[in-house]
Structures are given as structure tokens and as C-alpha cells.
């Protein structure tokens, strides 16, 4: 039997943390992605420019560099803010930058850019006539969005979404580098202590694979739901 030298439960909690980071960043990314896509398709030029700059810049820089920039940069900004408040108001104020929040914010911020592109393409794929029909029925803009655009857009967005989710999941391994004790970091510490890297890294890799397999299956189910009424060729 596999001997984990008593590290088994710890690595299990690390796996839970990995999943938490992944899910929270997915939520951030979905919200940012929707906002980004709407901004990119808006008729208001400054908004469109900001969204384009966001997606282009983020997708051109490695996630690790962004993560280090945001994590260490936010720390420094917090330091100078607390200094400033102390000198100005003589009040001691300090918030330590939490690794979990920094990790989730960074990954969410990065994948928001990828999601924007996915959603933008999906919105464009919705037939123009559908929107016109909604307007003809006297629906408000909000109603057209939630009743007509969104449900049909999801069908086109799902393949891209599932792809982004799988990449995001693998990117969560990087949070171990800014000090979060996810399963990658725990496996690294355990293998350094016991000098048996294979015993710890292979199970961690298998957990990642299992999550991948499960999510592929889950996306198939969701895809079936959103493709109701579509004839497959």
C-alpha cells in the first residue's frame, strides 16, 4: 500500500484548498468575463478601449509574472497606504495581504480576460433576428439580455468555458508559489522532508487528473441541457 508517511490527511486538505481557489477564481473570472464582453461590444468607445487593453495585456503576460506583480505589489501599496494614514491621521491601520485573496483575485483577473473573449464570440453568435424579435415583443433591454441573449449565448460559450476552466484548474498550482498551502506546496514540502518525491507528486497529479475527468463529464451534462432543441448534424 502507498505509504504517505502520515501526510495523507494534510494533502487532502490541500486538495480542498486547491478546489476552493479554483471555484472562487472561476466565479471572479465569469463575472469579469461577462463585464468584459459587454464592454467590448458596447457602443461607448472608452469602455471598449479599456476592455480591449485589459484582454490584450493580460493575455500577453505570463500568469506567474502577473501573480507576483499583484501579490508583492499589493503588499507594497498596502505598506505605503498604512504609512500615509499613520503620518496624516496618526492612526495605526494595517491589513496584511491574504495569500488566498491575492491568489483568487489574480487568477480570476487573468481568466476574466480569456472569458471575455469567449463570451464576446458567443454573444456575436446569437442570431440578430432573435434580439429583434425580443424588442418587437416589447421586452426591455434587461429582459432581452436575460431571456434571449444569455441562454442562447451559453450554448456557444460552453466549449470555450470548459476549456478555460481546465486551464484555470491547472493554473491554481501556481498559488503554491506565493505561499498558499495548496496540495502542490504540501506535496513539495512532504517530498523534501521524506526524500520521496514520486510518492507525493504522483498522487497530486492523479487528483488533478480526476478533477479534470469529473469536470469534462460535468460539462457534457451541462452542454446537453443548453443544446436542447438543437439538431446535431
Amino acid at each position: 500500500m502507498l505509504d504517505l508517511h502520515g501526510y495523507g490527511p494534510t494533502i487532502f486538505t490541500g486538495a480542498i484548498l486547491t478546489i476552493e481557489v479554483a471555484i472562487f477564481s472561476l466565479i471572479v473570472a465569469l463575472v469579469l468575463g461577462l463585464l468584459g464582453a459587454i464592454a467590448k461590444l458596447s457602443h461607448f468607445t472608452p469602455l471598449r478601449l479599456v476592455a480591449t487593453a485589459y484582454t490584450t495585456l493580460i493575455r500577453g503576460v505570463p500568469d506567474l509574472v502577473l501573480m507576483l506583480l499583484i501579490f508583492y505589489g499589493a503588499q507594497i501599496m498596502m505598506n505605503s497606504l498604512s504609512d500615509w494614514i499613520y503620518y496624516q491621521y496618526d492612526y495605526d491601520f494595517y491589513i496584511n495581504i491574504d495569500e488566498f485573496v491575492a491568489g483568487v483575485a489574480t487568477i480570476g483577473f487573468i481568466f476574466g480576460a480569456y472569458m471575455s473573449e469567449t463570451f464576446r464570440g458567443a454573444f456575436l453568435a446569437v442570431d440578430r433576428g432573435q434580439i429583434e424579435a425580443g424588442i418587437a415583443y416589447g421586452m426591455t433591454k434587461r429582459q432581452v439580455f436575460f431571456r434571449i441573449m444569455f441562454p442562447q449565448m451559453m450554448r456557444h460559450a460552453l466549449p470555450g468555458l470548459s476549456n478555460n476552466w481546465l486551464v484555470l484548474l491547472k493554473t491554481t498550482a501556481l498559488v503554491s508559489l506565493i505561499g498558499l498551502t495548496d496540495m502542490t506546496r504540501l506535496a513539495k514540502e512532504a517530498s523534501a522532508a521524506t526524500r520521496e518525491p514520486f510518492v507525493f507528486f504522483i498522487p497530486v497529479a492523479i487528483i488533478y487528473l480526476l478533477i479534470t475527468i469529473l469536470s469534462e463529464w460535468g460539462f457534457k451534462v451541462i452542454e446537453k441541457k443548453y443544446s436542447a432543441g438543437v439538431i446535431k448534424g
Binding site: L68, T172, P197
Partner: protein, 237 residues
Amino acid sequence: MDWLVQLLDSNQIFTTSTVLHYWDGLVVTVQLVFISLIIGLVLSLPLAILRTHRNPWINRPIWAYTYVFRGTPLLIQLYLIYYGVTYIPGIQESVFWFIMKDALYPALLAFVLNTAAYTTEILRGAIVATPMGEIEAARAYGMNFSKTMRRIVLPSAFRRALPAYSNEVIFMLHASAIASTVTIIDLTGAAKDVYSQHYAPFEAFTFVGAIYLCLTFSILFLFKRLEKNLLAHLAER
């Protein structure tokens, strides 16, 4: 050049020595990415052809290889190889130890295996998408398997694979940043050094981000040029 030296000397963080440190990092990053992409591409070509083979004993193992390497984080693969090779029994006495004790080669191995897995799937998709009529025509001309591959299937498959492969190249460039976690001083490693020397995260990481951005855009530009030439028949008119 004098003005440049003066400008750098009057700067607090971006002195001549830090700029040279970044330059060394850039060289390491470009080498790592370029070599792993070349070897990965060479490996993936036979793998992609075998992956389309009808016999499950041939295509299933290759599918398993690509699935595992595409389904686990590159960081884990890197750790596994970097920390793992030390503990392979007898490796420290063998000739391989001379190569493997340097961090560069385990990292290169991890990157090659990773990019080969992705490239195999990209090429397989392109090969499978070959219209059946083209292959039938080649058969009718009496071409054998290797001739059909060389003359008919691969030339058009490479063209079809080009847009997806440009994504893979950029992905590899960005993924190479994690080489800095195993003591390699690549671009990100250089930025980390500058950060810890001057405690200036914004300057250090924004600068390196800008370099990566330039590299990304150059790669995109090159591939756009290539696509324009090789995919001219698909262009909108």
C-alpha cells in the same frame, strides 16, 4: 552608447547591471522555449501519425500520454522531474548525472514532454481533418502510405495546424516562467532577483511583463505573416 550608460547610471533600479541581468534572463528564456518547441515538434510528428492509427494498442498509449500531460499542471510535471531524477537509483553514479544535476535539463525535459503532448493533439486534429477524397485520390494514383503522408496529408495538415500551433508557442513562452521556481534565472527569475535586491515589485515585474508582451506580439506577428503566405487560399476576398 554613452548617453545610454549615463541614463542607466542615473537610474536607481534599472542600472547597467540589472539591465544586463534581464538580458541574460531573456537569453535563457528564449533558449529554453525555442529548444523545447523544436524537440517537441520533432517528437510530436510521429506520435500524431501513430495516434491516428486504427490499432488501439498503438493509439491508446499515445492518447494516455497526451491526456496525462495535458491534464496535470506543468508545475507538477516540472517538480516531479526536477526533484525526482535525483532519487532514481544509480543515477548519481551514471553519466546522466553530469547532465541532470544542472536545473536546465530537467526543466527542458519537462517542457519538451509537455509541449510534445499538446502539439501531438494539434497535429492529430489537423491530420484527421484531411478530406477523405484527397486520400482516395492518392490511393488511386498508387501512392503508398508514406508517400500519401509526405505529399498529400502532411503539407495541408501543417497549414491547418498553424493557428492552433501559434497558441501553443505563446502558451509555452508563458509557461516557461515557472522555470524560475527551480533556480533557473530566466526572465522571471531575473525579475525576482531585481525585486528582492531593490524591494521594488512594480518596477521589476512590470518591466519583465513588458518584455514578455513584446515577445508575445513578435510571435503573433511572425505567425500572422506565415499564415498569410501558407493559408493564402483560405483568405477572405
